[in-house]
Point group: C2
Chain length 339, copies 2
């Protein structure tokens, strides 16, 4: 084994409000040989995702909290350096949940072999990975849009939002997105095929939605909560559906901000608001991968990525993602592409 | 025709905040003979319901707003005095939406003949009427409780809530209710068969729900919104359902109060919150009437009513209902029972 140490990012302190660099530490740690049934992997890309902020809080939730002094975890794709598991051989590309570290040994059962062709490896953390599946089940199974309906998605240039809008377009819907800069709005309109888009930081939300959704909103794919949820409720059509995927606008508040004043519209408009977690929907993975691979091949899905280099910049990438500095999927490149 | 005039309650001003007596006026008005296809009816009972507060506001909603200077409307049951419609004869008992007046002529098509046996006439405005059907579809079709689950209902001694709790018990659920006085809590526990109950005005909501729902809440039937929705979200189980029936705690606010700070639980707990309006579910009327008539006959449903006498007290009954002064269905008796 040529590699004897690895660097990893650990949680040094539980963030209060917005996380800062000093809440994390980068540590060099000895790398153990793979034991029986284990595989040694070097990561090529790791993912930073909004839900990781929630795991930094010490509370019971759908995923256990990160522990102080231990390495963080999250989606990563890499290459097998050595294997003592019959399902893997040196050179295989794999996907797993051991992000935030350069190399690791882990049981083969925790890894999934992925085909490095036809899509770039990084896609398995985005459009072909968890964010893509989140968009797919959230839109289709929770939002249930019909052709001709209007779908509004917030954080529309994000890893999930950018896929939601394009899937809605494929389904024949009017697609409307919000994003946090004029540059992003331009990308939505000119590159991702959205019918309408606006900058939520500068627009009057009610006016912007009235203009972008002349026939109202039938499906709101909510990634942000807060003011945009409030404005969407105002504009929702009767029997509208809200797929509650995340509420990033509230994640870094020391005291959670109050919710929308107009929840009563849920009653009068007979709206269904349904929260979901992608992990409950892994049974949809085969259908998702088949559909998405086909759409990518047909050029019907445009992929956006923001890539930061080196594990020493992983925390910066995470913080930048929370501030909305990424366009498309935010990734950290930890090593060279598979040869 | 012996009756030549009728008294009716009109909307004199649009209430701002809590309605007051002067927002209404009682007017004596000439009674027209029934025309061809019409029926002359004297009301015996009229209903006052929370949703009527919403109709006093001039805005687009699922029911059109009441008009200034015109009689209010709402559920009522009465007896036919004269008929020029082949479907009705003198003495028939009927149900319709011409409440807030003593007598009226209306097309027979707007009326439904009801059987004055075996249940009292007043039940057709409560347990066998719109509130009963609201409880039935909201609990069964929206809340979808399974035997052994915990169902929490707010405003639990109200016309809808008192039925929800008893239906949940019939379905084999743990039933928990909140109400606004210790007397009402006693009724819930001793007369309506609730497993646990608390006074929301005096209890610490989080503590009360923790104690009343040791295994969490699977279905929350929400009649009130506000703080109780917030506390229920805290206590909801994964994959819980919230049937959003009404939010009476907000109806008289001049500025709607902010929503719950913990809506993010919708995501992490994968909760479905679904608003509904009983009028969308009239297809369930036959099943509801069959079930409810049977349960009443078997003594499995206890009915509570608060009856105020005389149309001159109808506004007071409505205001009292908004303040929670009723126990069970709030009714106004407008004339003698059918002979």
């Amino acid at each position: 084994m040529s590699q004897t140490t690895s660097r990893e990012v650990r949680l040094a302190a539980r963030p209060v409000g917005w996380p800062v660099e000093s809440d994390f530490e980068l540590v060099e740690t000895p790398l153990s040989e793979p034991g029986e049934g284990e595989v040694l992997v070097r990561n090529v890309y790791m993912s930073v995702d909004p839900y990781m902020r929630g795991r930094m809080v010490d509370r019971r939730s759908y995923v256990p909290p990160f522990q102080l002094g231990e390495a963080l975890a999250g989606g990563a794709v890499g290459q097998v350096l050595a294997s003592r598991h019959p399902g893997f051989t040196e050179g295989d590309c794999v996907s797993g949940m051991q992000g935030w570290r350069e190399c690791f040994s882990a049981p083969g059962a925790n890894l999934r072999k992925i085909d490095p062709q036809p899509a770039p490896l990084s896609y398995h953390l985005g459009v072909l990975g968890m964010p893509g599946l989140t968009a797919y089940v959230g839109l289709h199974d929770i939002g249930k849009p019909k052709a001709g309906e209007t779908v509004f998605v917030s954080a529309a240039t994000g890893a999930v939002g950018s896929v939601v809008g394009q899937l809605a377009r494929i389904r024949g819907c009017r697609t409307v997105g919000s994003a946090g800069s004029d540059t992003k709005v331009k990308v939505l309109l000119e590159e991702l095929g959205f019918d309408a888009a606006f900058n939520y930081r500068t627009a009057d939300l009610d006016e912007a939605l009235a203009q972008a959704c002349p026939d109202g909103i039938d499906v709101y794919f909510d990634n942000v909560g807060g003011d945009q949820l409030d404005a969407a409720l105002d504009r929702m059509n009767p029997f509208g559906r809200i797929a509650a995927c995340g509420m990033i606008s509230t994640y870094n508040a020391e005291t959670p901000p109050p919710g929308p004043r107009n929840l009563i519209y849920l009653v009068g408009k007979r709206i269904t608001m349904q929260g979901f977690i992608v992990a409950d929907h892994f049974d949809r993975l085969p259908a998702f991968l088949a559909d998405m691979t086909r759409w990518l091949g047909e050029g019907r899905i445009t992929v956006k990525e923001t890539v930061v280099e080196g594990i020493e910049n992983a925390v910066g990438a995470f913080l930048g993602m929370l501030r909305g500095e990424n366009l498309g999927k935010m990734l950290v490149k930890l090593g060279p592409d598979p040869g």
